[in-house]
Every structure is written in structure tokens, then in C-alpha cells.
């Protein structure tokens, strides 16, 4: 009979008995995200690992156990615990907490990015800046949300982390949030990647609303070719200028530009290749799973998460609007040389946002080919988000 007793005991220690209702809900949420990643192909490279991490932590919360409070200022340290008593995903999460993973992903992004279209048309940089508008609008909304009845609202650090969703850039959002509001990392990362995948649905109505038919039909001149020397010097100039002005952006922007230098220098092809492939994929897996594993039911299922999802959508919308409106302004200044549809690409979300500009442009003028013109603001948006994140970190970081 003792075997039966033992099995009963196992059942009592099993997840069936120990999991909270929040865990069960989150398991369903993770199924939903897996569905979006696999069937709908929404940013699957990150959403699949995130969803799986979410699944694991909610069936077995101890996979993120942190008896030594390695990644938190709060909580009590278990004096008898060893470092290896921490959950395996908690240990890997150190790569996120330390910013190493986001920085390495940004290096990979740099190695994959061609800044040529931006160099051919430096005005793109202004569009990439204007399309960060949503960040600041979202920040205000997050702060003001505390005024709602029955809702506690967000602290300034939390609001800044939520706002960065409007930067439409995953690693930047993870980088900033893991430093300012690590307890919100799960919902913010999920919102950022989901909305990036939804760009083709979110942007077109806003683009149409804010532009006239005539504007959408504008054909743009071909871009000039860019010399190799310009492409090599550009990442160095960006690093020096931006880091001098906003020192705290150094890790993120520095690594982005290092990756780009690997790509453009022509003498480090094997480093560029590894940064884009083996290293990028390894870090993507580890970062995705552990970021997903921060979304344990008790913290994720909260009014705050719903607020984050709503504010995140607004952030994307206002960033899109900022880019389009500024492009309209540039169009006036240049007397009709800029198709405002390329402004929306400034949100970053490379290369989906640029593709949206291309597709929309062709709808109204089939001979239009906006892709390359939109790539300029698109890659400028990556720099813009990083600068915005640096500003927020400087303002709210310790």
C-alpha cells in the first residue's frame, strides 16, 4: 500500500495542487502566444521563446527561484542557499539583468543593418526622431493613468519603461525595463514584440487618416549611392556624438555601432557573420526564454498589465502619427519632395515598418517604390529609440 501512499504524496506535491489560478490562466496565455508565434508567424523568433518561458515558469515557478536575491533589491536572502540553488532560468536571466544580452542582440542588429539609405538622405534622421513621439505621449498617459478610479497608476520609473514600448524596438525596451522596472519586464516585452508584429495592422489607418491622397501619390527621387568610407565612418560618428551627449546610452548604442562597423569595415566579415548568426541566435534563445519566465502569474495578471497593453498600443499609434506628421512638414518645406507615408517607418520595427510604407505607397500610385526611402527613417528610428531610452535612463536611473 505504501506505493499508493507515495503516489498520493507525489500528487500532492504536483503542480495540480500547488499552482495558483493565475498560473493556470498564464498557461492559457502562453498557449495563445505560441499560437500567434507559430500559426500567425508574429515575430516568432522571439515570441516563441518568450511564450515557452512563460509556460515553464507558470507550471514550475521555482525555475526562476532566486533565494540569494541575485536580480532584485527587494526580498530576503536565504542564508543557507548556494548560488546554484537558484532556478536555472534565473541564472541565465543574469544575462538580461546585466544588460549583456540586450547589448549583444543590438550588436547583431547593427551587423544586420545597412545605414546606406539613411546616409543618402540624412533628413531621415529627423523622421526617426519624430516617430519617437509616442514614447513621451505614453509616458504622460502612464503617469496620468493613476487618476483613474480603482487603479493605482504607475511610478515614474514604471511609466518610463512602459513608454519605451513606443520606441518599437524590442532589445531597447528590454534593456531599459530590466533596469528601471524589472517586475514589468514580462508584459512590456510581450506588448513590444506583439505590436511590432502587428505593425501592418496598426499603421495603415493612421497613415491614411493623416495624409491627403495627393501626398500619398508623391514619387520620390532616386537615392544617391553612398561610398564605403561614409558607411565606415558613420557608426563611429554616431557613437561619439550620442554617447558624449547622453553617456548612459553607451552600452546599447555602442554595441549597435560596433556591430555595424563589423559589417561595413570589410575586414571583419567573420565577426560580422557570427554576430548576425550563431551569437545572435544563442542570445535570442536565452533572452527570450528568460524574459518570458519573468511573467509569473501573480505579477503578470494585474490591472497594470492591461494598462500596459492599452498604453503600448497608444504609444505605437502616436509614434506613427509623429513620424507621418513630421514627414508632412518636411514635404511642405521641400516643396513636395517627400511622400509623408515614409514618416511612419521612423518608428523603427525594422524592416516591417518600411515595408508598410512601401505597400501603402503602391496602393495609391502603383509606380511608387518607397522601400528604400522608408529604410532611412526606419533605421534612424533604431537610433532614435536608443537615444530616447538613454534619456529616460539618465533621468530615472539611479
Amino acid at each position: 500500500m505504501s506505493v499508493v501512499n507515495a503516489i498520493v504524496e507525489i500528487f500532492q506535491e504536483s503542480g495540480f495542487m500547488s499552482l495558483s489560478w493565475q498560473n493556470w490562466v498564464m498557461i492559457l496565455v502562453s498557449f495563445g502566444l505560441l499560437y500567434l508565434a507559430i500559426v500567425k508567424k508574429f515575430e516568432p523568433l522571439l515570441l516563441l521563446p518568450i511564450a515557452f518561458g512563460m509556460l515553464l515558469v507558470n507550471i514550475y515557478p521555482d525555475i526562476m527561484a532566486d533565494p540569494l536575491m541575485m536580480s532584485s533589491y527587494e526580498g530576503t536572502v536565504d542564508p543557507n542557499a548556494h548560488w546554484y540553488d537558484a532556478g536555472v532560468l534565473r541564472l541565465i536571466y543574469a544575462g538580461v539583468k546585466s544588460s549583456i544580452f540586450p547589448c549583444l542582440i543590438f550588436m547583431a542588429v547593427g551587423a544586420m543593418t545597412d545605414f546606406g539609405p539613411l546616409l543618402a538622405n540624412p533628413m531621415s534622421l529627423l523622421l526617426g526622431a519624430a516617430a519617437q513621439l509616442g514614447i513621451y505621449v505614453a509616458f504622460m498617459i502612464a503617469i496620468l493613468s493613476g487618476g483613474l478610479p480603482f487603479f493605482d497608476g504607475f511610478t515614474a520609473k514604471e511609466a518610463a519603461s512602459i513608454a519605451i514600448i513606443g520606441g518599437a524596438d524590442g532589445p531597447t525596451a528590454i534593456w531599459l525595463t530590466s533596469q528601471l522596472a524589472p517586475h514589468l519586464l514580462g508584459p512590456i516585452a510581450v506588448a513590444a514584440y506583439s505590436y511590432m508584429a502587428l505593425i501592418p495592422l496598426i499603421q495603415p489607418p493612421i497613415m491614411k487618416l493623416l495624409t491627403t491622397k495627393k501626398e500619398r501619390e508623391i514619387k520620390m527621387d532616386q537615392l544617391r549611392t553612398v561610398s564605403k568610407a561614409e558607411k565606415i565612418i558613420f557608426p563611429i560618428v554616431v557613437t561619439v556624438l550620442c554617447v558624449l551627449i547622453l553617456p548612459s546610452v553607451a552600452p546599447l548604442l555602442g554595441m549597435l555601432m560596433l556591430g555595424n562597423l563589423f559589417r561595413e569595415s570589410g575586414v571583419t566579415d567573420r565577426l560580422s557573420d557570427t554576430a548576425q548568426n550563431a551569437l545572435c541566435n544563442i542570445v535570442t534563445i536565452l533572452l527570450g526564454v528568460t524574459v518570458g519566465a519573468t511573467a509569473e502569474g501573480k505579477t503578470f495578471l494585474d490591472l497594470k498589465t492591461i494598462a500596459i497593453i492599452i498604453i503600448g498600443l497608444l504609444a505605437f499609434a502616436f509614434s506613427t502619427a509623429g513620424g507621418v506628421l513630421f514627414a508632412k512638414l518636411l514635404n511642405v518645406i521641400t516643396r513636395g519632395k517627400i511622400n509623408p507615408l515614409i514618416g511612419s517607418a521612423g518608428v523603427s520595427a525594422v524592416p516591417m515598418a518600411a515595408r508598410v510604407s512601401q505597400v501603402e505607397g503602391r496602393k495609391y500610385n502603383p509606380s511608387n517604390f518607397l522601400l528604400m526611402h522608408a529604410m532611412g527613417p526606419n533605421v534612424a528610428g533604431v537610433i532614435g529609440s536608443a537615444v530616447a531610452a538613454g534619456f529616460l535612463l539618465m533621468t530615472f536611473g539611479k
Binding site: L125, A129, Y136, V237, L241
Partner: protein, 130 residues
């Protein structure tokens, strides 16, 4: 309306006024930094193009004087690269294929397919071991 906003402010860890201030400063900083970058890029591009066109002119003159002297074109000699991995010509990796053969292959592909050479990217050409 203003009263409501002030009421909100008391619940937050920063006053609304400061939040507005931070938001406005934020977008201004981003605009300024990227505008500054745009100016630098413009200057940089102009500088580089000036240098490059000057270099071209000089080379052009040199070429003229050289052709006047009727020197036979020196065959490009491959200088030992420091990379240990493989023989490489620009972006193209060659395995057991000399550069001349590779050039012939590339020219043929371009010619016959009607695709200009500058739109074809060869990553590597490899003669399979017999």
C-alpha cells in the same frame, strides 16, 4: 480640468508638471541629437566626396601620364592577407579556383543572364575536388 490634474499629481511619485517637463525635454533632446547627427552626416558626406573626387582627379592625371609613358599594366599581384581563414577576393571566397577563372565565370554569368554584374553577388566559387 486643471484641478483634476493637480489631484492626480498627489498620487504620483512625480508631480504632473515635472512629468510634462520631462516629456517635452525628452522629445526635444531626441530631435536635437538626431538633427545634430544629420548635420554631421551632411558635412561628413561632403568632406568624403570632396576627398574622393580629388583623389580620382589625381589618379586620372597619373593614369594619363602613365599611359603616356606606355608602360604595360602591371598585373595585380595578390598581397598576403593576414587572415588565416581562406583566400578571399573582396566579398567572394574562392576555393581551389584562381581569381582569373572566377572572373571569367562571373563575366559569363552576367553576360548570358543579362543581369548586370553589379547586381549579381557571388559569395564563393569552389571547384570540387576531383
Amino acid at each position: 480640468m486643471f484641478n483634476i490634474i493637480l489631484a492626480l499629481a498627489n498620487k504620483r511619485d512625480i508631480p504632473i508638471g515635472e512629468a510634462v517637463n520631462i516629456s517635452v525635454t525628452g522629445i526635444v533632446v531626441v530631435m536635437l541629437v538626431l538633427a545634430l547627427l544629420a548635420v554631421l552626416v551632411l558635412l561628413l558626406s561632403k568632406g568624403i566626396r570632396a576627398v574622393e573626387s580629388a583623389a580620382k582627379k589625381r589618379n586620372g592625371k597619373k593614369a594619363d601620364s602613365e599611359s603616356a609613358e606606355a608602360k604595360p599594366a602591371e598585373p595585380s599581384k595578390p598581397v598576403g592577407t593576414a587572415l588565416p581563414e581562406s583566400a578571399s577576393a573582396g566579398d567572394l571566397d574562392l576555393y581551389n579556383v584562381d581569381e582569373k577563372t572566377a572572373a571569367v565565370i562571373m563575366a559569363i554569368v552576367s553576360n548570358e543572364s543579362g543581369i548586370p554584374l553589379n547586381r549579381l553577388l557571388f559569395k564563393s566559387i569552389k571547384a570540387i575536388e576531383k
